[in-house]
């Protein structure tokens, strides 16, 4: 049993170890993974923070330096933004992973603890049931067998002994000894019944098994099988004995009992099931709670943080905002709620670890207690077992002695003459000695009264002798003959029969020994066996006791009084017991005798127990005492049991508790690590937030700086430019002029750069909005080209523009921004094109390129042919140089791929292409050219200058126009940029007058014919486009020779009659052929009888670059009428043609230009509000000059009075900064007054006549401000102003602003 247990414990330990090992492995693996992840994450964070630090540092440095540098600052911030975006993309991801790990740990912990718990509970339940059963079962079987054997043996001996004796005497004897033979009912019956009993037993067992099968359908059947067996064995035991008593009626009873017991078992097992499932459910719930908690806690924290983040930041001036931001940060740091959270987490962790340690201690204590309890139980069981068996054995022996006493009384005293003499007694006792294995010998003493002594002595032939000493010894190592005769007493108890082993005590008076005498007296008074206290037996030198039974001469009733018993006493039967051998023999039969030590004590005298068996052993802690009842109430015996070994260390408990401890510490460690990481990350986060705030503050400062600087730079720059211009007008020599011009150009560049930077800032802040005004696309392009022509001509690059016929004349959009994009692209192209080739701007409808196979436009066709015809030596391009395939530049556009489904019939989509033959963009740089402040490579800015902001702005602008921008570029060949944009269709009539300046001229040339001689069809096509705009019909020939033949062939037709212009490109220019042509023309004219002087077609030379000297030379030589410098522009064409054809259009144009402002403002009543006398006077002067009628007031309040409806002012110019009431406030009040009046009129409260027949009062209020900052502008609009003009007045600006309000008037 112990072995089995230890094996079980060992396997349990083994299993536990395995579990730890696996858990440990998993932990280590996960931990490594987890920490690696954390490391990478932290690495990113560190990188980010370093980056931020750098940015911050650089920003500060840059801020303190001059304005040019903040371009790079901006670039940095852009980079930073990019990186940040990446980080934020990466950040939550890793956090999620991390969170998942935490969850996993939780799960793991719970699962492992659950498993352990389950196993522990299982182990604590099952071994208890298991361990006892086989052991006790075995023992019981043996006992049963023993009993059975004893009974059988007895029958056998009796049978052999009495085979010839009397039936009656036998029956009597049998009746007397009935008590002893408890396992069989009647001896005679028993022999017969045995067989049927067995059969019954079998039957019952069968039935029993059946019920078991039927009843027991619980899944824990397996566990209960041992118990079942146990029960069935017990059942057998009881049923055997019961069957012997009640043969027939038992079956039902026992069955019922069985059923009851079965059902009890069922309930028990069901309980077990429920317990188990309850445990599982509990475990699951705990797990769930843990998981939810671990999910919720970070969530809550996030929420908290977000809340913290969402603190409203009030709008405040920048400097204050900056300070506030920093203050907020400091405040947050001072409060540091994150730190508080960290503390809270730490506390929780400490509690958790403490709980874990406590749990482990408790577990240890609990398991240890259980082990000890089990040990005690085992000991108690074993001890009780032994005590009971000893008792049983003893009782059996006693019964035998009793039976012997009865035998003696029956056959010695009950028969005359006696059937027993010394010989038969000796023989019988010797032969039945196996019945009393524990007695060393039995003897029978007769009760002899003193009166009978003589007769007795005579009869036996010996005298009654007394014991030598009065001690307890029964047998002494001396001869009977040496003993003295017994002294005279009332009565004697001389031994008459004795077993051979103790034959020496015959004739000794037992009453003479004190102990024996007491024994005898007690025995006859009680009628039961009595025991002496232990003493040393003579021969075996072992401790022994003497058992004495009284023999009566008649059968006494059980309730006979002691006197009656004494009266009936005839003799005494004594037997000596050898206790040590008894115990030894007994213990020998039992299993696991090695593990325990048994001591037997006689404790009749409680203060001084007499050891009967066993050696003194060292105290091993546990002691179990069982009482022994040897059938003598006066004597008390105890059995003391001990384990031989000290209890082994409770490894199960140690392992389990250590495991829990280790898990707790591990988990604690992990959480500690996690918490410290979190704290670190939070710290980093805070740091980064601070840095971010600083960076943001720097950004705000940057905007502020931009706004201020732009204003402050522009003002002095205007001075610089103005001065330079004046300087250039003075008498300068060539070098001085060159210097001045360079300075002027640089200043202009600087201004444009500032504007670009401002644009970029506006775009980035999303403040840029596009206008929607109708404009003439073609003249806008002319404008752009005229601006760029200086540069392109200087470089010898041909610059041309072409607009498809299908593009409407007037489109609605933002001309300024459109111009900006094209200027940017063209500017770039000029910058990167070196002294050869061309730049070609073409505009088409998107629809034109949608179907590549039915392209009607010749310019587009050229693009197609180019691809098909690359092998030809010269290229059919504007300048003959190769270009990239422009079709590729827009092939990714969504509009063309049909992805763009937002088709608006009101809108037209324009496709603008700028083609150049420049250096091209390297492939690796192509991806980033739209990034602000990034150029194709760093050497670019060295070679070509520029900031790299233009394309970025263009891209944004294109996007604002709902378009796309793309390009195709090849290094060494050139680049082609294309963009689309959505524009409204405009009516020519809605066009602003400033676009219409050429209109009269156009009609002037209507119906004329022209011949273009050009060897490049594209170039000819461009020329044709320009001429067609003037209403001139164009024919094209590729050389002068072919022109001659053309002229010859058309001679006399109307086309020839209308031919007024011949345009010859410089490429085909040849002085001789020109002369030929001229003479041919004259000839033809004369042939046609036309007036030679007026109607000879004028010949123009088209040239890209030509010095004025050359031009005049050609002109004076009479080869050509004039030289047209490319790029061709409508205005230039008109001027030239007018000059050549003799119409003076110049004045007309001039006149138109000057009169604009005057006509706009003439007789308009304008109120000027300004507190500054000088300003007021100047404004008044300026407006008066334009023909306006000006009134002035110097305070906002006065303006209120003046502008209270009805009044007759047409507009109001309002200064913003005035004492008492500033411009904003004044405007607000004016507007509120107006709306009140409007409401009254609308509701009919007051008649419209009172308010001068004006149903809606709204006077245009224009702010006068020296600031051009966006914010000021916005504030103006917010408080109800209509627009603003910068102070001091600039004519153009004033015009464009005022024009909006006085267009109708």
């Amino acid at each position: 049993m112990i072995k089995g247990e230890s094996k079980e414990v060992w396997s349990l330990n083994h299993f536990a170890f395995l579990v730890w090992w696996i858990i440990g492995l998993v932990f280590v693996e996960k931990w490594v993974e987890f920490s690696a992840e954390l490391c990478s994450w932290l690495g990113n964070l560190v990188k980010l923070s370093r980056l931020l630090g750098e940015i911050h540092k650089r920003t500060l440095v840059k801020m303190s330096m001059n304005g040019k540098l903040y371009g790079s600052n901006c670039r940095l911030s852009a980079n930073f933004r990019l990186k940040k975006a990446k980080e934020t993309m990466h950040g939550p991801n890793s956090f999620r992973k991390w969170k998942r790990n935490l969850l996993f740990l939780w799960l793991l912990g719970f699962v492992s603890t659950g498993i352990i718990w389950f196993f522990l509970s299982f182990n604590s339940v099952s071994p208890e049931g298991n361990e006892k059963s086989p052991d006790s079962c075995e023992e019981k079987a043996r006992i049963l067998l023993q009993h059975f054997n004893v009974s059988k043996n007895q029958f056998h001996t009796l049978a052999s002994f009495f085979y010839e004796s009397d039936q009656i005497a036998f029956l009597e004897c049998a009746r007397h000894s009935g008590l002893k033979k408890q396992s069989s009912d009647g001896i005679a019956c028993a022999l017969k019944v045995l067989c049927s009993e067995k059969q019954d037993f079998k039957k019952q067992q069968m039935w029993f098994v059946k019920t078991t099968v039927l009843k027991d359908q619980c899944p824990v059947q397996v566990e209960n099988i041992p118990t079942e067996h146990d029960l069935s064995l017990l059942e057998q035991d009881t049923s055997v004995s019961q069957n012997a008593v009640l043969l027939t009626s038992l079956e039902h009873h026992s069955g019922r009992k069985n059923i009851l017991q079965r059902s009890a078992l069922g309930v028990h097992s069901k309980d077990h099931c429920e317990n188990l499932s309850f445990c599982m459910v509990k475990g699951c719930w705990l797990l769930l709670v843990g998981v939810i908690l671990s999910c919720r806690i970070p969530g809550i924290r996030w929420k908290l943080r977000r809340n913290r983040k969402n603190e409203p930041a009030p709008l405040q001036p920048v400097a204050q905002q900056l300070q506030l931001l920093l203050q907020q940060k400091q405040h947050q740091q001072a409060q540091s709620p994150a730190k508080g959270a960290g503390k809270w987490r730490k506390k929780l962790l400490v509690i958790f670890v403490l709980l874990g340690i406590l749990t482990s201690f408790w577990l240890f204590w609990h398991l240890n207690q259980k082990i000890i309890l089990r040990r005690e139980e085992t000991l108690a069981n074993m001890c009780d077992e032994r005590a009971r068996m000893l008792q049983d054995q003893f009782n059996v022996s006693m019964n035998h002695v009793n039976a012997l006493a009865i035998l003696v009384s029956t056959f010695h005293h009950g028969k005359h003459p006696s059937a027993i003499n010394q010989k038969t007694f000796g023989e019988y006792t010797e032969r039945t000695a196996f019945e009393r294995p524990l007695t060393s010998g039995v003897a029978y003493a007769l009760k002899v009264l003193h009166s009978e002594r003589e007769q007795f002595e005579k009869q036996h032939g010996w005298t009654i002798k007394k014991m030598e000493t009065e001690d307890q010894t029964l047998v002494q190592d001396c001869l009977t003959e040496n003993l003295d005769p017994a002294p005279i007493k009332d009565e004697y108890a001389p031994v008459i029969f004795s077993q051979e082993t103790v034959s020496h005590i015959v004739s000794i008076d037992m009453m003479s020994g004190k102990e024996d005498r007491e024994n005898i007296l007690r025995a006859r008074a009680t009628g039961k066996g009595v025991l002496t206290s232990p003493f040393k037996l003579l021969k075996s030198n072992n401790l022994g006791v003497v058992l004495t039974f009284a023999v009566y001469n008649k059968d006494l009733p059980p309730d006979a009084t002691p006197d009656q018993r004494i009266e009936a006493t005839v003799g005494y039967l004594g037997a000596s017991y050898d206790v040590p051998s008894l115990v030894k023999k007994l213990l020998h039969q039992l299993a696991s005798k090695q593990t325990i030590v048994v001591n037997v004590y006689d404790t009749t005298n409680a203060s001084a127990p007499i050891s009967m068996y066993g050696t003194d052993v060292t105290d091993t802690g546990l002691l179990h005492v069982s009482n022994l009842d040897f059938g003598d109430p006066l004597r008390k015996h105890e059995m003391h049991c001990r384990f031989k070994q000290k209890p082994p260390l409770p490894w199960t408990a140690i392992n389990a508790s250590l495991g829990v401890l280790v898990i707790t510490l591990l988990v604690g460690h992990i959480f500690l690590a996690a918490i410290s990481r979190i704290a670190k990350v939070e710290n980093d986060y805070r740091e980064m937030m601070e840095l971010k705030a600083r960076a943001e503050a720097a950004d705000v400062a940057k905007s502020q700086f931009l706004a201020t600087v732009s204003h402050e730079i522009r003002t002095p720059m205007n001075g610089v430019l103005g001065m330079l211009k004046m300087l250039m007008d003075t008498d300068l020599d060539a070098i001085q002029r060159d210097y001045a011009e360079t300075a002027h150009a640089s200043g202009k560049d600087l201004i444009s750069l500032i504007n670009e930077v401002l644009d970029q800032a506006k775009i980035e802040s999303g403040k840029l909005e596009l206008e929607d005004v109708p404009f003439d696309l073609r003249s806008l392009l002319d404008n752009v080209l005229s601006l760029s022509s200086d540069k392109s001509n200087g470089k010898g690059i041909e610059l041309a523009v072409y607009v498809s016929d299908r593009v409407p004349e007037v489109v609605v959009g933002d001309p300024g921004r459109f111009r900006q994009i094209i200027t940017n692209l063209v500017g770039n192209s000029i910058k990167f094109t070196q002294d050869k080739g061309h730049i070609f701007v073409s505009v088409h409808l998107v629809d034109e390129v949608k179907g590549a196979f039915d392209v009607g436009d010749k310019v587009l066709q050229q693009g197609l042919n180019l691809v098909q015809d690359m092998s030809s030596r010269t290229y059919n391009t504007l300048s003959g140089f190769p270009v990239v395939d422009r079709w590729k530049s827009w092939e990714n556009f969504k509009v063309l791929n049909g992805k763009d489904t937002t088709e608006d019939p009101e809108k037209i989509k324009l496709l603008v292409t700028v083609e150049d033959t420049g250096v091209g963009i390297r492939l690796d740089a192509q991806a980033r050219i739209f990034t602000p402040f990034v150029q194709a490579d760093s050497s670019t800015s060295r070679h070509y200058g520029g900031t790299g902001i233009g394309l970025s702005i263009s891209k944004h602008l294109v996007e604002l126009m709902h378009g796309e921008i793309g390009f195709v570029s090849e290094s060494g060949v050139g680049s082609t940029f294309s963009f689309t944009g959505a524009f409204g269709k405009g009516e020519a009539s809605s066009l602003d007058p400033k676009w219409k300046q050429y209109d009269p001229a156009v009609s002037e040339f209507q119906g004329l014919g022209a011949l273009v001689i050009d060897n490049r069809s594209i170039r000819a096509e461009v020329t044709r486009y320009h001429l067609r705009r003037l209403g001139i019909s164009v024919d094209i020939t590729s050389s002068i020779e072919s022109a001659c033949t053309y002229l010859s062939s058309t001679c006399g037709t109307s086309a020839f009659a209308h031919l007024a212009l011949i345009l010859i490109d410089k490429d085909v220019w040849n002085q001789e052929t020109i002369l030929q042509l001229r003479s041919l023309l004259k000839e033809h004219r004369q042939n046609g009888r036309l007036d030679v002087s007026t109607h000879v077609p004028k010949i123009f030379l088209l040239a890209t670059s030509m010095s004025p000297a050359e031009r005049s030379k050609l002109k004076t030589a009479g080869f050509v009428d004039n030289v047209l410098m490319k790029p061709l522009r409508l205005s230039v064409l008109i001027a030239c043609f007018q000059e050549a054809l003799g119409n003076g259009g110049k004045d007309q144009i001039q006149r138109k230009k000057t009169s604009t402002l005057g006509t706009l403002l003439r007789d308009k009543r304008i109120l000027v509000v300004d507190d500054n006398k000088v300003n007021r006077r100047v404004a008044e002067g300026a407006l008066k000059k334009c023909g306006a009628i000006v009134s002035c007031v110097e305070r906002g309040r006065d303006a209120l009075d003046k502008l209270k409806p009805p009044h007759n002012f047409d507009a109001c110019f309002m200064d913003l900064q005035m004492p008492e009431m500033d411009g904003f406030e004044a405007t607000r009040q004016i507007r509120s007054a107006e709306s009140e009046v409007n409401k009254k009129i609308a509701s009919g409260e007051t008649s419209i006549e009172i308010y001068g027949n004006v149903s809606h009062w709204h006077i245009p209020i224009l702010a006068m401000t020296a600031d051009v900052i966006q914010a000021t502008n916005e504030e103006c609009m917010k408080c109800g102003m209509d627009d603003y003009v910068s102070k001091p007045f600039e004519e153009e600006k004033l015009y464009s602003t005022v024009a909006r309000f006085f267009k109708s008037g």
Binding site: N1172, N1175, R1177, A1179, G1181, Q1217
Partner: protein
């Protein structure tokens, strides 16, 4: 006619020198353009308004800055703003530039700087006043001999 031409040249030279030295800028030219037969004394009128204004403002500022403690920088700032507005209106570039610096000192509440700037402004103002008065005198002389005032771009 010679006298007229001489005077005119003198005027132009003087005028350009004013421009060159930065006393006046384009705005002043614009002002002169505004002067026509409807308002023959426009520039003089504006200039005298400006001088009046300036003196008043300078006095104000000087008074405000006299206080050793508790200088009312707000008031000074307002005055400087006014002055800046006036000067930019009339095209008095140097005065205006000093005003810009002046304002930054005001914002920084730097009394020393303000005082320095005030001194500068006073100086520039008196300089400008002298120059303009000379110019106007020239104008008068030209007109007196019957010439027209040349337009200088």
């Amino acid at each position: 006619m010679d006298v007229v031409n001489q005077l005119r040249r003198q005027f132009v030279d003087y005028y350009t020198s004013l421009h060159r030295e930065g006393f006046v800028d384009d705005q002043f030219t614009q002002l002169q353009k505004l002067q026509d037969e409807n308002s023959p004394d426009f520039v003089v009128e504006v200039a005298s308004l400006f001088f009046e204004d300036c003196e008043k403002l300078i006095n104000n500022m000087a008074r405000a800055l006299e206080q050793q403690q508790r200088v009312d920088f707000k008031q000074v700032d307002a005055s400087v703003h006014q002055l800046k507005g006036s000067s930019s209106s009339i095209g008095a570039m140097r005065v205006k530039n000093v005003c810009i610096a002046f304002r930054s000192f005001c914002e920084a509440q730097n009394r020393e700087g303000c005082l320095r700037c005030l001194q500068q402004v006073t100086h520039e103002y008196s300089l400008l006043k002298n120059k303009l008065q000379t110019l106007f005198r020239l104008e008068q002389q030209i007109l007196a001999v019957g010439g027209s005032i040349p337009v200088v771009e």
